[in-house]
Symmetry: C3
Subunit: 343 residues, 3 copies
């Protein structure tokens, strides 16, 4: 797809400054602009890049007044960032979608595929699987027995979903992620351990996105539940019987231990963690590397390991970093008090 | 499979209170009980759920005396939890096992498969591989050259085992786990690094279970060894030349650095770690997020980063959380001593 | 391949002590030596193992003077470690390389494969992919549309590379690693989140090695770049728009958040991390578990969470571990000052 400045200006309602025939077929950052790319200038910090940017077109705010000649064609609009985001959405919406069912996929008898389904090579769709409309199942995906998959789901190459799990509508799961492996449950028997069967499943509700190489374990009994709108990053661990509330966001390498319940609209930073069997409220913020070891109320913010309320954690850390000086101060005090006592 | 209360009561030796014709075909938690499910009540904390539980049958202790009518059929036994666990084992033992060798698997010439083997679609079994009896190799598994696999092993979809590794009997490995990738060994050569060839292997002994997306690297020379009965959770890193002693349990996202030797019956919490070349004794407990940086004796318990003995770590952390107040106390003391000195 | 002591001594220029007909076909560690293995003795700490080592041949320094008879044949050289490394390289260089293109791979029309290419079973090479010379693509690998792969690249089983990514020459990527999954970018819209399209790619330059189950996310726009000579261990997270400078080494389970730029020849320890949008200089060392939360200058060394300069971090931690005693000291001081004040 190739667009001229004129076509884009008409679409986003902007005014062209420069060559209205300038052509673009890709999107880029203003500081790395290449020919054929459209970019935007919103943050004044990046203004210095526009004058000689290699981009062919740059969308700018009406208020932008260049200090010297600008190389790319400009399109002036009320809100450059919003217009660019609109174009980005349009660009992505128009990318060709993979289609068709590969003859090199292994699809169990009886599985219904609608005409818009994409199933890539070497994917396995097992017995009893129910697929929604317009699913995109990339190559090398595994879908176990009796799994249910909603409409418009995208499973990237190599996703593995164990039997009996349920995936909602518009769910996106990236490569290498494993949904429904056995929870880590063992009962001690003398010095050894006996496996506790994990007969539950995983339920992933609508509009969830899960990154790459993440693990969501099946429940011992009942369900591990990722509620609607949740976003999980890469390499996240969600243990058995965890529930994650609507629209909660969990960043990379975080780990939620077994049977912990996380509320709605929480944010967990990278490498953060909780121990098991906790109740975390709604709108809770856990900083990166935060380690939660007790229940947490709604609308609170935590940091550190073990986690403290953020303000306290920040202050404690600042003082921690001064411990060498504080240690000396205390030693000095001891000496002085000793001397005073002698007098 | 469908069972009546009468059949179950006969099997576990219990007494029915309620409808002896009640039928179940699944197992569930009492607080989420659904029709057709059997559940149990052991912890009095959950007693409140039994009265209106949707479960069809609940196993209870003989000592349980309901305060009001109970909706589900009850089966009274001496130990409700044990009886339920017995049923759970029975249930799982009776789940149909996958069987047969897919024509869409790539199996090297000369590889012997016994009649009970299961090999799923798009799995690769390379030259020189030796398979035990009754192996379950799910789809998309890779088994490299000259790998040895014991009896009753289960490899879930997408497991990758590099060449020359040895897997014992009754080992279970979940999806996405990689056994035998190269250890992270590089020798500095000026500003760059030269790869140190990793010519060893990985040995996984009997009765080990490994979670999803875990990595066990091959040894530089010799073997990385996961001894019998070890349980590794998801996303665990086991570096080259590590040995993990019998029945040690390592929770999710933990990392054991190169050449560290871990003793028997240890427990490592989630996201815990050790540096390399350490000797960790037997029956050592490392708390979640603990970071071990020196050798550790048998029968000790550690916490924190760097790890301290648990009792000391707990006390140090409590005081840490009070650092803002302590800092103020010290400042006050300084002032007072200053004043006293002046007098 | 089987070699005699005589052949090896001739190759490395050494002097044989013992049976010049001793045969070896494998390499091992002196403390675990088995028949048919060649080993080396360099570190005097291991001298005790040589006398009864099961190895058939041991390379030793000329300066080594045994205290009693040595069982294996010895080859004396100027530098035992270097000679052994030379043999190791030779051994690995002579291992048979996989060859040929499997008929069970799915290769898009128009993809050019040179005669030295290896493509294993159930791998997918999509439309527009450009492959260099002598690539080794193991089974079950996925290479998305328009990916470029350099010469002598090794992709181990199950590697997934999303569309449009660029892989340089002599790059090695281990099993389960995902290159080019979407960056974790979402814009809040009321209580929910809207996906920000990730239209950039990943560029991996020459001589990079990446371990197993690591994730390198594609850029939102532009490129996530792993510069030449970088070594990433297992289970590492590299977020969108990160750049990692030449020859930087990042150990297992580390995580680099979005848009952070890391300089050349840095070292990141296991489970270390940075927050996003940082600039880390050249030759920076971050200890294991270090958590970097601000920009860092060249040639500095950091430890702890949040990271402090290493010397300060070490001292602060030592004092931290004494906090229980310090707390008591302060309480004692308070009491004494109180008493002094009263007088």
């Amino acid at each position: 797809m190739e667009f001229t400045a004129e076509m884009i200006a008409a679409f986003i309602g902007g005014e062209i400054v420069g060559n209205k025939e300038a052509k673009v077929w890709s999107m880029g950052k203003i500081e790395e602009g290449k020919e054929g790319e459209i970019s935007f200038l919103s943050n004044p910090k990046y203004e210095k890049y526009i004058y000689d940017s290699g981009a062919s077109i740059v969308i700018v705010n009406k208020s932008f007044e260049p200090e010297r000649p600008v190389r790319p064609t400009m399109i002036k609009v009320d809100n450059a960032y919003e217009c660019f985001a609109k174009l980005l959405d349009l660009y992505v919406a128009n990318l060709p979608r993979k289609k068709g069912v590969s003859k090199m996929a292994a699809i169990a008898e009886g599985v219904q595929l609608d005409e818009d389904a994409y199933v890539g090579e070497f994917s396995v769709i097992s017995e009893g699987v129910k697929l929604g409309k317009k699913v995109s199942i990339y190559p090398q995906v595994y879908i176990g027995d009796n799994v249910t998959i909603g409409d418009d789901v995208i499973l990237y190459p190599g996703v593995k979903i164990y039997k009996d799990c349920v995936i909602g509508n518009r769910v996106i799961i990236h490569s290498g992620t494993v949904v429904g492996a056995d929870g880590f449950g063992f009962a001690p028997v003398g010095d050894t351990y006996k496996k506790i069967p994990q007969v539950g499943n995983v339920i992933i509700e609508d509009d969830v996105e899960i990154g790459a190489n993440t693990c969501v374990d099946r429940a011992t009994m009942g369900s591990t539940i990722i509620h609607k709108g949740v976003k999980l990053d890469n390499l996240v661990q969600i243990a058995h019987n965890v529930t994650v509330g609507d629209n909660t966001v969990i960043a990379a390498e975080a780990g939620i231990a077994g049977s912990t319940h996380i509320g709605k609209n929480c944010m967990f930073g990278g490498q953060s963690a909780t121990t098991g069997h906790l109740h975390i409220g709604d709108r809770v913020v856990i900083a990166s590397r935060g380690a939660v070891m007790s229940d947490i109320e709604d609308n609170t913010s935590w940091m550190g390991a073990p986690a403290l309320p953020t303000v306290r954690a920040r202050r404690a850390h600042i003082i921690y970093s001064k411990l060498p000086e504080i240690y000396k101060t205390i030693a000095d005090l001891e000496k002085k008090v000793e001397e005073l006592s002698k007098k």
